[in-house]
């Protein structure tokens, strides 16, 4: 396998300059700088939301404040099947929070900090610069070295080395993008992740997984019957989903590394809506074995179930809070479908949505402070974000049919299913509604996306 080596501290400075005092000052400066960046981003976000509501200015495809970053081609990157600098740039561009500064025309292209003429980059407006190199190793692999430099401070913000096989090029690039994202914004990136979705082509259904940038899609299940509600186990190696191949909805769990799958829940009636507990050892599922659709807990190994919800209504779409203590779910116990919250061990439920007559598909944000859901209003279905504390609701999307929301593991983006004409597509929106992406994955009807956890190891 591959190795991941910690190359230097984020604020590593040249040895000659290293003494305790300057080091501390440099650290402090850096943190103040990152804080300022963050503040600017946050302010820009809140201002924009207000402005949008008043002026209906729709900013699509990028944030207002974008950090200018230059990604220099890594020396020797043509040795690898993909150019790492291009993948990193595409990732950051897609996030909507960075502006790419063209590195073209600078010769020689720097590989080490000592080779950087900072004036070249500051004159182009770059605030951060990425440099690095690809070196073949004796065992046929490649050492990928990169450094993130602060152009104004002329200091290093991060530097890592990965030793990879050439097949891991894209993964390494996504990890580099994650480091840059985190160093410049203060929150982890979510580029080195995978997504799952269902493609319908004619009467054929395929469950596919791909990298978060849509690359490398592969089919893990093909069927002539519908597949819905795929969801990632926290380990990123198992999927639970609902398949209709048995002439009724049955919940399966499939191991991605072995390809093996087994029935998780096949009780009398319908079995659906699997949701993993954060510990990955049990799931909530919706069964109708006792009549109406109710929420039950089941071990990830299958077996007996225990009933969690207890109503004479529809209780469905359970979703665990990140701490595993609570469940959000959809219920029409009050006459119309609304979002409720109850303990993960069952019991009484409290209603949490009150506006509108159709609020469904709740998903906790990874920090547990808010949740996204789908609201029907005037015949349109749109994503909304609600904070638990303030109960403030922010509209996130404005499509005709937006559904099946799923948070990125860093909570910054929400992947969802949408429509382009009659065709199903995937789209993503930032958690403030400002940045919108469309994921063009392939032809066919694409739907039911779910964003996987951060990948551990290559």
């Amino acid at each position: 396998m591959t190795s991941l080596r910690y190359y230097s501290m984020p604020n590593m400075v040249p040895l000659r300059a290293l003494n305790e005092a300057t080091d501390r000052v440099r650290s402090l400066r850096m943190y103040v700088r990152i804080l300022l960046w963050l503040l600017t981003v946050v302010l820009a976000a809140s201002v924009s939301v207000t402005a949008r509501a008043a002026l209906t200015i729709d900013i699509v495809g990028g944030g207002e404040k974008q950090i200018p970053v230059a990604i220099a081609p890594l020396t020797g990157e043509a040795r690898l099947p993909y150019k790492i600098s291009e993948i990193v740039a595409a990732d950051l561009q897609r996030a909507g929070l960075f502006r790419m500064i063209d590195p073209g025309g600078i010769t020689p292209m720097p590989t080490e900090p000592s080779e950087v003429r900072y004036g070249d980059w500051s004159s182009r407006g770059a605030e951060a610069l990425v440099i690095g190199s690809i070196t073949p190793t004796a065992d046929g692999r490649f050492e990928v070295r990169f450094r993130l430099l602060d152009v104004q401070k002329q200091s290093q913000l991060a530097g890592f080395s990965y030793t990879i096989a050439s097949a891991q090029t894209r993964n390494a690039a996504h990890r580099i993008a994650d480091v840059i994202y985190e160093k410049l914004l203060g929150v982890p990136g979510a580029f080195a992740t995978r997504i799952v979705y269902v493609v319908k082509q004619g009467s054929r259904y395929e469950l596919q997984i791909a990298d978060a940038d849509g690359f490398g899609g592969q089919t893990v299940l093909a069927s002539d019957e519908p597949i819905i509600s795929p969801t990632w186990a926290p380990d990123g190696n198992r999927l639970a989903y609902v398949s209709f191949e048995g002439k009724k909805p049955i919940v399966y769990v499939q191991n991605l590394s072995t390809g093996q799958r087994r029935v998780l829940a096949n009780f009398r009636g319908s079995n659906s809506s699997p949701a993993w507990a954060p510990d990955g050892r049990r799931l909530a599922v919706v069964l109708t074995r006792d009549g109406n659709s109710q929420i039950y807990a089941i071990s990830a190994e299958g077996g007996s179930v225990s009933r969690l919800s207890n109503s004479n209504s529809i209780d469905t779409e359970p979703n665990f809070s990140p701490d595993g203590q609570s469940l959000l779910f959809t219920s029409d116990r009050g006459g119309s479908p609304q979002i409720y919250r109850m303990s993960a061990s069952g019991g009484a439920a409290e209603r949490v949505t009150f506006d509108g007559t159709y609020n469904v598909s709740p998903r906790y944000s990874p920090d547990g402070k808010s949740f996204v859901f789908v609201q029907r209003s005037g015949g349109r279905f749109n994503l909304m974000l609600q904070e638990f504390g303030t109960r403030q609701v922010i509209p996130l999307t404005d499509g005709v049919v937006d559904e099946s929301p799923s948070f990125a593991p860093n909570g910054r983006m929400i992947l969802y299913g949408s429509k382009q004409g009659a065709r199903g597509i995937l789209a993503a929106v930032s958690n403030d509604g400002r940045i919108k992406q469309r994921l063009t994955i392939q032809s066919g009807d694409v739907r039911e996306p779910a964003w996987g956890p951060l990948l551990k190891g290559f």
């Binding site: 819905i228 009398r268 659709s293 469905t316 779409e317 479908p337 159709y358």
Partner: protein, 183 residues
């Protein structure tokens, strides 16, 4: 008389053997003409089908009430209003007929498959379809069918009968279908 009896038994055996080939049930044997039956061959009756088919076809066969277009039992779909799971009056005779059939035929079982139109959350629609199926099941049970005879499942919006996105297509898809075991 002894010869007649023997012949009838043989024909019965042959008819039983041929039953699968001619796809007919309950071949009548009681009033067969023994003269048409040849003596049993020395070896087991490997190819006895043609004469037997003739015999069977000469008799009127009772139509399967579940597939006879003239019988209400051949109608299997109950349609629903938008956002509703109530069985409408116009479909009550249909549900009643199936309930009676199940009451009279305790060995028969059905699956009631609930469906919805495409609008809304897939999982919530799965639950709505389930409720439609349950609604049909409850009415059947009130009319004498038993719980063990009826399984309710839902396809939600996943298996639309009509692929369109207008009201006429949606109306076709808000539906519960009654499917008998073996169908």
């Amino acid at each position: 008389m002894r010869r007649i009896l023997f012949g009838a038994v043989v024909v019965g055996l042959l008819a039983g053997c041929a039953g699968k080939d001619v796809k007919e049930e309950g071949a009548p044997v009681e009033d067969r003409k023994p003269d048409t039956v040849t003596a049993p061959p020395a070896k087991p009756p490997a190819k006895p089908a043609p004469p037997v088919v003739k015999q069977v076809e000469s008799k009127p066969i009772a139509a399967n009430p579940l597939t006879d277009p003239g019988n209400v039992l051949s109608k299997r779909s109950v349609f629903f209003d938008y956002d509703s799971t109530a069985v409408k009056d116009e479909f009550k005779p249909l549900v009643t007929a199936h309930a009676k059939y199940l009451t009279d035929n305790r060995g028969r079982r059905v699956v009631v498959q609930g469906n919805t139109d495409e609008r809304g959350s897939r999982e919530y629609n799965l639950a709505l379809g389930q409720r439609r199926a349950e609604s049909v099941k409850k009415m059947m049970m009130l009319l004498g069918a038993t719980d063990s005879q009826i399984e309710t499942v839902s396809f939600g919006e996943e298996k639309p009968r009509s692929a369109g996105s207008d009201e006429s297509a949606w109306a076709q898809n808000r539906r519960a279908d009654i499917v008998y075991d073996g169908e």
